[in-house]
């Protein structure tokens, strides 16, 4: 059974069709990135999977159930911050745990466990308004990863974070998620999508390509470009570069040499 099955999904807002017969299948434990520009329909799709919106036609199943019946399996972190800024991290986690019907003692334990896991134990009693963007996003992910969650949907989670904070964020997600937890990442950033095991490119409400990140690049003929410049130019240099088996296409430029390779890694020798 897949974690997520989307079949011929269409969503219209008035006359505007935002999703156009889109189909998507994501396996259990997969880290799938849906990448597209604003307005491509990716957030609408995420909100339908999370049972926040209803489709106009077509179907969505999460672990074989309609999203409304699978709510407890789904953790959804929208793009906008939703943690309460005037509450502390601990109070926020307690609040969300109680919303999910955990008892007071369970909520307290869950909050403590999550604070440890996300590295915020030392800041547990600080008000969220004092947090950096990265700390706040980590806290919000924690509220979506309580026990029982099997599908974590992250909508543009790294907006506003610097590159180091973005890398830390995804390392943390990988570390704290259960191996069986499926991640659906919604993003417009290629650098974030590359971290996924599979990427779907979405444009105008349709998936236009889908594969592993490197396979997508190769399938569309995109090549690594290796630029070599030397103090002097010589045919001997061309000979050396060819011997290194990186001469898929070798171009001599005014400044030096440019190698177009389907696998620049070969240049490492």
């Amino acid at each position: 059974m897949n974690a997520i099955d989307v079949e011929k999904l269409t969503k219209r807002f008035g006359d505007k069709e935002v999703l156009s017969g889109l189909s998507l299948h994501i396996a259990q434990g997969e880290f799938y990135a849906l990448m597209g520009p604003n307005g491509s329909g990716k957030t609408t799709l995420a909100s339908i999977i999370a049972s926040i919106r209803k489709p106009s036609s077509g179907g969505v199943l999460v672990y074989g159930q309609p999203p409304k019946e699978a709510k407890k399996l789904i953790g959804y972190v929208p793009q906008e911050n939703f943690s309460a800024p005037k509450l502390t991290a601990r109070e926020n986690l307690n609040y969300f745990a109680r919303l999910l019907d955990h008892s007071a003692s369970e909520a307290k334990k869950l909050a403590n466990d999550m604070l440890e896991k996300i590295g915020l134990a030392g800041d547990a009693d600080k008000r969220v308004v004092k947090f950096s963007g990265g700390m706040r996003k980590r806290l919000e992910v924690a509220t979506a990863l309580f026990p029982g969650v099997r599908v974590l949907i992250l909508d543009e989670p790294t907006t506003g974070l610097d590159p180091a904070a973005r890398r830390n964020f995804f390392s943390l997600i990988t570390a704290i998620k259960d191996k069986k937890t499926t991640i659906l990442l919604i993003t417009h950033l290629g650098s974030d999508a590359e971290l996924a095991s599979r990427v779907g490119l979405i444009d105008s409400g349709k998936i236009i390509a889908e594969d592993e990140p490197e396979a997508l690049k190769r399938a569309h003929g995109l090549e690594d470009v290796i630029t070599v410049e030397t103090q002097v130019k010589s045919d001997k240099i061309i000979g050396i570069l060819r011997k290194l088996s990186i001469d898929e296409r070798l171009l001599e430029t005014e400044e030096g040499y440019r190698i177009y390779s389907r696998d620049g890694g070969k240049a490492r020798g």
Partner: protein, 41 residues
Amino acid sequence: MAEVARRLDRAGFKVTRLEMTRPSLEDVFFKLTEKTMLEAE
């Protein structure tokens, strides 16, 4: 990449620039749609 520099150096050629640029997923999107992520907004 290091091997390229090493072999050229061993042959007496001083490398002044050696870099590899990898294509991005934004490049794939552009190739398919002729739109950038920003243009498509």
